[in-house]
Amino acid sequence: MTEPPEGSDAEPLHQLHHAYVKVLRISGALLAAPLVAAAAALEMALPTPPGLLLSVAVVVAALLLLRVPFRRYNARGYHFSEDRLRVVSGLLFRSDTVVPFGRVQHIDVAQGPLERAYGLATLTLHTAGTHNASVSLPGLLHADALAMRERIRARVKRDTM
């Protein structure tokens, strides 16, 4: 999964900041905790062989915590060129989107609480298209995201619809 994904152009993809793995891992933990708790509750309520449900839940949780964040991180990438941004993402369903800067309507740089803790940010480009009305690129260093925003803004000639 680390090689450039299928459907790539010639240019190499940039990886996101490695702290993004931690963000994904913590989000995974937030998802896994209720799962394990529910399994534990069911374990007590149902007459299943002891430990069966819980062990399944723990395996799934371990995947969510250890394996999946890394693979998702590896599946993501971007390429920032002179006049366009290419964003690749998705483990199972891969999507590979290119937005020319000439089509950007407005730009968001957002930080969730987790992202802020690690100094990361999400860059979102909005276009006038009905499909891909907004294209998000998470897991950038906040300073990088701001710099990218400035560079894109310089490329957007006129702030007009």
Partner: protein, 518 residues
């Protein structure tokens, strides 16, 4: 805001920041009349509950007068507190009786201005003016109601300022004179169109009403015994003369349904499309249509993002097609503007050219999509239904006490549906073609009701490739194109073709900035 070169037009009264104006005085009359139907229901309730009292009628009349006075008073206040103001760079509308809301829309953002006339305002010669910005639906700025001349003046003004195209000096509503009719539907065409808009909506509505209001009927609609008793009277001999008569009855019911459906279709179509005229003037396209509610929509040529040619399974046999523009502005809920709802190909071709597009000739480089994608799609659909069918079959085999014919037939029905869906997927692939010319992308799909999408290469917003697990394994991808106001997706492109297509599209997209397009 960039400075807009305002053409010098003899409209000194509205140049700069003019004083706020009110909408036409008669608007409140229209609003009162339009509010009357709302008074009917409470009135009926009052009449019904006071039917035995001596002053019942008088009370009812008093209450009715009160309701009407309330509605009119409210409408009057609303009229009094609605003002608009045309500035140098924007148009502002202030509304609200107690809580005031002011909305300002810069001319540059206005995609088009449409005039709409419902039945009642039409009697007074009033129009509703809508300023479409692409925000859609309730967020759009509108002014109800202005006199027809004021509406048209506003439209000309907005168009002059938003396009910033230097109009010839002394322009004053003379655009209208140089209009060229591109497409019109005479009554005969509208009626023919209606024939193809067969609709059983009325039957459904009547059925629903019958169910809701069956307490009003003198007999129980769903009371089977009652029906049997009634049928035992005149119906008994009907049953007696045997299957021939029953067949006649069934045919009669079908004929009745068919007639109702046909009439509904004709009536609805006539109400919507009556007097359809599409014209072209210096600024853009202008469409007028409608029997009761007359709409008048203007679409600037350069705002047309893509075209969509559609037809139906039946109407295509007679060679009828429809053409819509995909633009940022909304058209009564739909994200496209129908500019020729029911036309021959030779009538559509000039409109396509007038919109700055061209048709794909036979020499266009038409390509097919991946055969593997067709196979995957067909198999996925087949399995999605065949597996449940098989499971059900096993369950039925394990439970021999189930003898309902429906349950026994279910696996076969599911399997059959799966086969049909799989064939449909294959059939779709078989008829899918795309072509890239120097300026446009063509996507032709469907055979039962063929469709053609034409996108201008420079007006696309974004390009993305999406691959599911099977697609990655078999080397194909779906190409999604961001189009302002619409969406175009070509499934099952071989990866190499998809990349080449994306590269070429991006090359033409990056050559122009959005502001030069819209």
């Amino acid at each position: 805001m960039t400075p807009v070169s305002v053409p010098r037009i003899r409209r000194s009264a509205t140049a700069g920041h003019a004083a706020p104006r009110r909408t036409d005085r008669r608007s409140f009359l229209v609003a009162s009349i339009a509010g009357l139907p709302r008074a009917v229901l409470p009135l009926a309730a009052v009449l019904y509950s006071t039917r035995d009292q001596p002053f019942g009628l008088a009370t009812a009349i008093l209450i009715a007068a009160g309701i009407i006075a309330f509605i009119s008073g409210f409408a009057y206040l609303a009229w009094l507190r609605t003002t608009y103001c045309v500035g140098a760079a924007d148009i502002r509308v202030e509304t609200g009786i107690i809580a005031r809301a002011a909305r300002s829309v810069p001319f540059e953002r206005i995609q088009d201005v449409s005039l709409q006339q419902s039945l009642i305002p039409r009697l007074f010669g009033l129009v509703e003016v809508r300023f479409e910005t692409g925000a859609g639906g309730a967020d759009e700025l509108k002014l109800a109601y202005l006199s027809q001349t004021e509406g048209e003046r506003l439209r000309e003004l907005v168009r002059d300022r938003s396009d910033a195209i230097p109009a010839p000096a002394g322009t004053e509503l003379i655009h209208e004179e140089r209009e060229e009719v591109l497409f019109a539907m005479p009554p005969r065409r509208v009626l023919t169109f209606g024939m193809f808009e067969f609709s059983l909506a009325l039957v459904a509505v009547l059925g629903g009403l019958a169910q809701q209001l069956d307490f009003l009927l003198p007999f129980g609609l769903w009371d089977l015994n009652g029906w049997q008793d009634r049928l035992a009277g005149q119906g008994a001999w009907l049953a007696g003369i045997g299957p021939a008569a029953q067949l006649v009855g069934a045919v009669a019911v079908l004929a009745l349904l068919g007639t109702i459906g046909l009439l509904t279709g004709v009536a609805r179509t006539a109400a919507r499309e009556w007097g359809f005229v599409l014209t072209r003037n210096a600024k853009g396209f202008r469409r007028r249509r409608g029997l009761f509610t007359r709409t008048d929509v203007v679409m600037p040529v350069h705002r047309v993002q893509a075209l969509s040619v559609r037809t139906g399974a039946v109407r295509q046999l007679w060679g009828w097609q429809s053409l819509s523009f995909i633009t940022l502005a909304q058209d009564a809920g739909a994200a496209s503007h129908t500019v020729a709802p029911f036309a021959r190909h030779r009538e559509i071709a000039p409109i396509i050219r007038a919109a700055g597009f061209e048709e794909a000739g036979d020499e266009a480089p038409w390509h097919r999509t991946s055969r593997l994608q067709a196979r995957d799609a067909a198999l996925a659909r087949l399995l999605a239904l065949a597996i449940p069918a098989a499971v059900l079959e096993v369950v039925l085999w394990l439970m021999p006490e189930v003898d309902s014919a429906l349950f026994l037939a279910l696996p076969a029905i599911l399997g059959g549906a799966g086969v049909l869906l799989a064939l449909h997927a294959w059939w779709n692939w078989h008829h899918r073609r795309y072509a890239l010319t120097s300026r446009q992308l063509f996507h032709r799909h469907g055979r039962l009701s063929p469709a053609l999408d034409i996108a201008s290469r420079v007006k696309l917003q974004s390009v993305s490739l999406v691959q599911g697990p099977l697609a990655r394994r078999h080397g194909y991808a779906t190409l999604h194109l961001g189009v302002a106001g619409g969406r175009i997706a070509i499934p099952g492109l071989p990866v190499a073709d998809a990349l080449r297509l994306r590269g070429e599209l991006l090359a033409s997209m990056t050559a122009t900035d959005f502001s030069e397009l819209v």
